[in-house]
């Protein structure tokens, strides 16, 4: 593989007081692929995400993000909002929408940076110059596109907080996509979804990868999602990487079966890793 990875994590270490949450973790995410980060609760997955997206500063380690243009960014030195501007956009485990704003407004906020430039820091916007009106119309179209993709177009003018749970999850992904990422980081997007909704999610994520060429980094417990759509899986346990590889390798890796499930009953473990709907 000659293409450089979209994200490389090298020797990442984070401590909270005496607790080592992530310990010397290194992995890479290839461009245009879905990389999943799995592991039992408390393995440090969300902490890794928080480092990548600038909410925590790692104690040790280097996080390099490369755009398709070739520009590269050292994420551990950047503020969270600059990381997002560079093209790493995330969703949250506990959904974080702007609940009092309407669905479409949520998507407009996501296009803030672009619109802000188009409005020449509000001057052109204030005068309603064509330059801004054009950009605004484009932004609305983009919002409409993602609402259609996520099946939310009928709820576009409702308060985001009033949507049902599954719709809020989809809206969060639509919002992240409106921000124009080249690496999309999803923190448990399938949590709380019913099987039909998770199936829809799979299709959405695959199309984001295939049609839009966007790399995805995924934390997920739902194996039916992970095993079906991931190109590569990285398994964490207690802050350490214990395995990495394509789904077929990982699911038969005895180390993973032991550590991830912590059960003797190998049959159940394997069944879960096959993605038969059971939840870890």
């Amino acid at each position: 593989m000659t293409v450089p990875p979209v994200l490389s994590v090298e020797h990442l270490t984070i401590r909270f007081g005496g607790l080592v949450a992530v310990d010397d973790l290194s992995f890479e995410a290839a461009p245009g692929q879905i990389t999943a980060l799995i592991g039992p609760n408390g393995a440090g997955k969300t902490t890794v995400f928080n480092c990548i997206t600038g909410f925590y500063k790692p104690d040790v380690g280097r996080l390099t993000f490369r755009r398709e243009t070739g520009a590269s960014f050292l994420l551990e030195r950047m503020d969270g909002f600059r990381i997002a501007q560079a093209g790493v956009v995330r969703t949250f485990q506990n959904i974080r929408l702007f609940p009092g704003m309407s669905v479409v407004e949520n998507l407009m906020v996501a296009q803030h940076v672009k619109l802000m430039h188009a409005s020449l820091f509000s001057v052109a916007g204030f005068l309603r110059l064509p330059r801004f009106l054009h950009a605004e119309a484009q932004a609305i179209e983009r919002a409409r596109y993602w609402l259609e993709r996520t099946g939310l177009v009928d709820q576009a003018d409702l308060p985001a907080g009033s949507l049902p749970y599954g719709a809020q999850r989809r809206l969060e992904i639509a919002r992240a996509m409106c921000a124009g990422p080249s690496l999309l980081c999803l923190d448990e997007p399938a949590a709380g979804l019913n099987p039909r909704e998770s199936q829809g999610l799979n299709e959405l994520l695959l199309s984001i990868r295939d049609e839009h060429g966007i790399s995805i980094l995924l934390i997920e417990h739902d194996m039916s999602v992970v095993m079906q759509i991931s190109d590569r899986i990285v398994v964490l346990e207690q802050g350490r990487k214990i395995a990495a590889g394509p789904p077929d390798e990982v699911r038969v890796n005895p180390e993973v079966i032991r550590a991830y499930l912590g059960v003797e009953d190998e049959e159940t473990a394997v069944a879960v890793l096959q993605g038969e709907g059971a939840r870890a």
Binding site: F16, T46, N50, F55, F92
Partner: protein, 332 residues
Amino acid sequence: MRLFGRPLNGSVRTFAPGGARVGNFRGRMAYFLQQLINGVTLGATYGLIAIGYTMVYGIVGMINFAHGDIYMIGAFVSLVGFMLMGTMGITWVPLACFLVLIFAMGFTAVYGWTVERVAYRPLRGSQRLAPLISAIGVSIVLQNFVQLAQGARVKPLPPMIRGSFELSSSGNFQVTISYLQIGIILVTVALMAGFTYIIKFTPLGRAQRAAEQDRTMASLLGVDVDRTISATFVIGAALAAVAGLMVTLYYGVIDFYIGFIVGIKAFTAAVLGGIGSLPGAMLGGMLIGLIEAFWSGYFSIEYKDVAAFGILVFVLIFRPTGLLGRPEIEKV
């Protein structure tokens, strides 16, 4: 306007003007020591008020804006108490002080309880600003109630506790610590000890700490959250009353407006020490008192409030959780 040019809100009376700046080392040390004593006394009162802010903020998450006025009420109730002692013929000062202490704590606590019950409890769980606006309204009501009931003029109380120890003297400048200052510091220490005991070892304290951590969970586990919050207001008001009593004795003058600026400074103290932390409140109070005393003693009395707020801003920028506050990890 009202706050300035009156010897109410600072160490005016204890502030030795220019002549005190003795040139030699001993003189300078003595001057320093005197400011230290004054600052600690002032800080003790700020600390007692700050506890009320910090406890309420810890549990309910609101700035009890009216707390400064509860302190003012405490000062007035104490003054009325002293006059009552006079009419009842209780003239032995320690007994009078003790009885007034009980009197003021009791009646001021009723104010604290009522304010919470009437103006804050119905707003629990509504938007963030509603209780704050309500609290500002309560503050205005209390000030104007006292102004109407007791008149707008400054109320003087002749000094009751006289006498002081002379710690050292050099030339024309003596370092003194008055009996009253000793009393203030001792009462504060005793209250702090008692209070720490309540929080650490009694069921009420446990309930308070639980409610502070997670109100919903505490109520699910059988803690009567409403009662715990009421108790918090009652304790806070009682401590503020003690501060009011001390200030009445120390400065000898009070009016209906003293609560405002002292309240702000006490809140500043609570934030400085780390809001939610009781030792922090005391420490913050001490620091604000010391800053004020030293600023008045060495620089200019005019800008002492500026100094206190300036330091608050400084601390918050470099240590946003205050000095003893737990550092918060942002939950994402």
